[in-house]
Every structure is written in C-alpha cells, then in structure tokens.
Amino acid sequence: MKKKDIVNYLAVFLFLLPALALFIGILIAPIIKSAYYSLFDWNGMGEMTFLGLANYKELFTSKAIGFIKALGNACILAALSVFIQLPVSLALALALGRGIKGEKPFLSVYFMPVLISTVVIGQLWLKIYNPDYGLLNSALTKLGLENLCRIWLGDKKTALLSVFVPTLWQYVGYHMLLMYAGVKGVSPDIREAAKIDGATEGQVNRYIVIPVIKPILKVSVIFAVTGSLKSFDLIYVLTNGGPLHATEVPSTRMIEMLFQRNRYGMGSTIAVMMIILCFAFALLISKAFKEAD
C-alpha cells in the first residue's frame, strides 16, 4: 500500500471516528450491556446471580411473563399497520401528490397527529372511549345503536382493537408524508406521457408511481413493522397492558419486569429479544423487496 493511500485511509478514519464513537457509545454498548444483564438474575441494586440462558428459556415458557402473547399482539399490530395503515397512507399520498386543490392544508391536517404528544393523544382517546360520557358511546346512543355501546378499553374482547385504532391513526400522516415526498419526486413528464398514451389515473399510479416509490414503501413497511414490535407509549397511557393483560406488548412486559418486579435480568432479556426481532424483520422485509424486484 502506498504511503498516500495510508494517509488517505487514516484521514477517513479520523473523520469517521467521532461518529463511530457516538454510534458505539449510544447504540452498540447499551445493547452489549443489556445482553450481558440478560444472563443474570438481578434486582437492579444488589448482587447479580449468573443464570446463563435460563432467562431466555423462562421468557418463552412462563405463562406469568406472557411474552408469547405480548409478541402475538405486537404481530397483530404489525399486520394491521402493513395492511391497513400503509394502504390508507398510500392512498392519501397518491391523492395529494396529484396536486389536488387544498393540497397543503390537507397535508398539514393529516400530519397533525404526528406532531401531537402521544400522551395528549392518549388522553383524547381515553375521553372518546370513556364508557360514561365518551364520544363513541354517546354517538352510538344518539344513532339508536345502544346495543353496540361497550366498555371499549375495559372489555378484553374490544380493548386490543380499541388501542390499535389510535396507534394506527396517529402514524398514518407520518407514512403519508414519506410516500408523498416520493410521489412528488415522480417526473410530471412521465405522468403526462402515460396519459397521452391513454393511461387512466389508476394505471399511472399502479404502473409508474408505485414502482418508482418502491424504496420508500420498503422504508415505510420496515418502520411500520419495527414500530409495532416496539410500540409502547400509547398503549401504556390507554390501558397499561390491561384489562387482564389483553393489550400487553413486549415493551409493557419489559417495563413491568424492570421497574415493577425489579427483575432487571428478565427485563434485559426482553429488550434483547426485541432488538433481535426488529433486526430480523428489517432484514426479511429488505430481502422480500429485493426478490420482488
């Protein structure tokens, strides 16, 4: 290797060093530390007892921890995100990207829930779902549909869906904005050429716009799936995993293990599993999109 190349590599390394240090310090080191704690029985304060992989075994076998059920709920949310939230976002992005009248105000309105604090959204939806004076039950009563009134967040048959609705609603605008940026990036010349050739609006979207924004769709799917696996805040505010653990997701189980049960080892085990699952799903989705290409 020439001396000049060595100097170049050294310069590159030096410029990358600050970012690398941050990346290791903020992301890699905590993951390694969590993986280390996951091998112990530890209450976060006293002595640590080495358990090996016993926490992982308990995680998948213990009914009391209920990780499998929580993971199942997260997967339902991921499926709803991919098959309901993203199509809605795409439809809105395609509609707004066409340059309809009032494009900017609509864009702001749809994006507004993303800007509002999740705790505020949680409080709003708590009021909507309130069994006594909530908007939903009041509306059903006014429409003569009293038989459909429910204790939406208190009935384990309806709680999961009731929690997922605001979760999906909140991020429709986020995905819409990502896709809208892609749709706007499609050259008007191509659209025009297709229309001159007799393509309908639907055909333009299907054969031109969507294939062009495929990389953005891939990112949206990854965000939706991994976001579902690590969903926490809105569920914590609305039900905190209840009633009867019906709305538990891995994050709520992790918080209970860490801070309510003082089981830092088991909490770290759940954290490690969530990291592994998020990476695995991200890789699978990337591969699926690559094969589709």
Partner: protein, 441 residues
C-alpha cells in the same frame, strides 16, 4: 380525651403492626449489604444544621394528592426554621414514582430525601445499601415518635424510615343512597350488608365503585373479604411468606368476593376507570360504597356538599369462626428515607425527622390519616370522619399491611396479576390459590 384515645390507638396499632411486618434482626434478605452489620452513623453536629446547603426531595404529594397541603405547610415551616437549608422538592404521580425511584436507586442518583413505602418496598433499597441508617438521628426524636412506629421500616434492628401517617382500608358509604333504600346506618353484619346491596341494586343504585384499571383498588376489596373470612393472622402469614397460598379458606373467600362481582354489585364501567375517576363518581352519588384508604377522608372533608353524606365503617365479618371485627387492612406505610449517597446525609436525616413530624401533624389535621407521631397542638379541627377512623383503629385487634406493600416487588406483581384475573372472573378461588402457590418465586 381525644388525645388519650389517639395515644391508645397509636400504641396498640403500632404494636400490632410491628408484630406483622417487622424484620427480625439479622434476617435481611439476599442483598449485598447487611443492615445489622452496618455501623450507625454518629449523631449530627449541631453546627452542621447551620451550614448553607441544598437538599433535594422526591415525594408523591402531587397537586391532586390529599397530602399536598400537609407537605406544603410542613415545608414552609421548615424553610422558616432552617433558612440556611434550601429544599428542592418534586412530586410525582404514585405509579410512575415507583418506577422513577427504583431507576434512581439503580443508577445511584437518588435525591437526599425520598418518599417510600415501608416493608418490602424499602427493604430492597436497604438490602442494597442505598439507604442511610437513621438510628443516630432518631435519638433526638424518640420521645415524640415511639419506636414501635418504626417497625415497618426497621431492618436488621436498624431504623431506615421516618413514618408519616398510618391508614387503613375503610368502607365509605353514601348515607343518602343508603337511606333511600331504608338503611340509616352501614349494615353491621355480612348478611345485612348483602341485603343492603340487593336493595340498592333493585333501586338502580350501583353498590360498589372500584377502579379496575388500578389493581391496588381491587385489592382493597379483595383483601378485606379474605381477612374477614380467614382471619388476620392467616392472611399475614401468607403475605409475609410464612404460610403457603394453597389454603382452602382463602379460595372460599376469593369465591365470596367473586360472587359480589357476579351479582352485579360492582360498576361494570369501573374496569376501565382509574381511582380518581371512581372517587369522583362516588362523591357525585353514583355508588353507595367505596372501599379505599382512609387518606380519602381529607378529600371527602374538603367537599362541603358531599361530606355530610359520607360515613366510614369497617367491612363486616364473613366467617365469625375465624375473623372478628377489629381485624383491619392497613398500617403505617408512608415513609420518608434518606439516601446513603447524600452528600449531607447526617443533616438530611435530622431534617427528614423534623419534616416528617410536621407532615404528620398537618396531614392529621387535614384528615389524611392517623398520626404516626405523638399529636401536638390543637387537634380539635380534625374532621369527624378521621375521628371515626381513630375509633375503628382504637378497637383494632390485628392489622395486615396492604399485600402489595408487604410482599417483595416480584411477588407483589404476580399477586396483582392474579387479583386482576379474579376481578375479571378469569380464575376462581381454587385457580387463584393454586396459581399463586406455583408462581410466587
């Protein structure tokens, strides 16, 4: 007379409480630090109390908390008495505080003085060597704070907490609603109590309000039913790990509780509500009964329209062969402690005692509970409801501390999970005892 009654209440209560939850010397669990072998710190140097210092304190006296006023008044008094000591205090919501203080203890970032619950909750911190021993500072206050009061925060024979007030679970009743179905008093026997609930239900009045979203509110009902079915000694033994959960009498008591749920005595909407909402509903006249801590006396007394309607009693006896009136759920749990890592731990310890005494004083006057400290000054303004609680406690024969405070964090949460399942009728009494016998580590 009132003062004499209170003294008797306190002495009796705390002796019973000490027997229930005090940790035998040397038995301190599995932590790294052994409180019994930790040397007691030297008494605080009087000059140290005159230094310009700043202390930090965390507590749960939020704006909506019954104890808020007593904290504010006590802190104002302390600021006047010790102008050289600046106290920065922050209040956090009850449930989130549990998470916050545990995280702070783990990270060794505790404030100088912190609110805690006694027994198992504080024991984890003490076992880890994170709490300052208060033996030396206590010497100065032992005439005003009987040692028996410190039973729930004594580990390995050493004192680690300053108790504030003590509370029990009370059966609060809206007498207007009871009168509307022909009851001038809260029924004294279980049979009459059930008849009263049936009459209320028939009149379209919901007998019980209970916040299913906060499981501790369910335990206020369930633990009372269990205690009045199996007796306080049996329940105490189970909570403190001296006996197994696998007890047929407990299973029968849980079935009794579940029959109250299945009979439609509880507000079905309550499962989705928090305690503040349920309490507001009770004060609005939606429920006839509300079983909860006697710290609520303050809020009830402050509501001029509601206060004349409310009365308090203890839950009636279900099985007279095993339980009697006077067996109560509760005890001194609210406590202040000092972090071992505090830069001014010796000063903070003395400050903590004086502050605790004042919070107790104002809290008692406000009706937030019975005093852990010997009352002083004019206490004639204490509301009638709190005085009734004092009478109930004066007749007490045994106490069982709240289950989620008496048990370790992991066991307590397993227990709460099963309480949820019982309230949701997912498991019956047999499933409850078998599950807990298997799952409690």
């Amino acid at each position: 007379m009132k003062r004499k009654l209170l003294s008797l209440v306190m002495a009796g209560t705390m002796a019973l409480s000490l027997a229930a939850c005090g940790t035998p010397a040397g038995n301190t669990g599995v932590g790294t630090a052994d409180p019994a072998n930790t040397p007691a710190p030297a008494p605080v140097d009087p000059a140290a109390m005159e230094e310009e210092i700043t202390l930090d304190m965390w507590c749960i006296a939020t704006e909506s908390d019954s104890n808020r006023h007593s904290y504010e008044a006590a802190i104002a008094d302390m600021a006047a008495a010790y102008p050289n000591i600046t106290l920065n205090w922050e209040a956090f919501e009850n449930e989130s505080y549990k998470t916050k203080i545990k995280a702070a203890v783990s990270a060794n970032e505790m404030p100088d003085i912190f609110f805690t619950w006694s027994c198992a909750f504080l024991q984890d911190f003490v076992d880890a060597g994170k709490v300052y021993c208060l033996d030396a500072a206590y010497e100065e206050f032992k005439d005003e704070l009987p040692e028996s009061m410190l039973g729930n925060s004594t580990y390995g024979g050493k004192h680690y907490g300053v108790p504030l007030t003590m509370n029990i679970v009370g059966l609060f009743a809206n007498m207007d609603l009871l009168k509307s179905v022909g009851y001038d008093e809260i029924p004294g026997t279980y049979e009459e109590f059930i008849e009263c609930c049936d009459a209320l239900k028939a009149a379209g009045i919901i007998p019980f309000g209970c916040a299913g979203k906060e499981t501790w509110c369910v335990t206020e009902y369930l633990e009372s039913v269990i205690e009045k079915s199996v007796g306080y000694e049996t329940l105490n033994d189970i909570f403190l790990g001296r006996a197994t959960w696998d007890n047929a009498d407990v299973a029968a008591a849980v079935d009794t509780f579940q029959s109250l749920v299945n009979n439609g005595y509880f507000d079905p909407n309550g499962i989705a509500l928090g305690n503040d909402e349920v309490k507001a509903n009770f004060m609005d006249g939606k429920y006839a009964f509300y079983m909860n801590g006697t710290w609520n006396c303050a809020d009830f007394a402050n509501n001029e329209a509601f206060f004349p309607k409310v009365k308090v009693a203890e839950f009636p006896v279900i099985n007279a062969d095993k339980a009697t009136l006077g067996q109560l759920i509760g005890g001194p749990s609210d406590t202040l402690a000092v972090a071992a890592s505090s830069e001014h731990a010796d000063v903070a310890a003395k400050y903590c005692f004086e502050l605790g005494k004042l919070i107790c004083h104002y809290g008692y006057l406000d009706g937030c509970g019975l005093p852990a400290w010997t009352p002083y000054g004019d206490t004639s303004a204490v509301n009638a409801l709190t005085q009734d609680v004092a009478v109930i406690c004066g007749n007490a024969t045994g106490y069982v501390l709240f289950g989620d405070t008496a048990m370790s964090a992991d066991d307590a949460n397993t227990y709460l999970s099963y309480v949820d399942l019982v309230y949701g009728c997912e498991v019956d009494g047999q499933g409850f005892i078998e599950g807990l016998a298997n799952d409690i580590r």
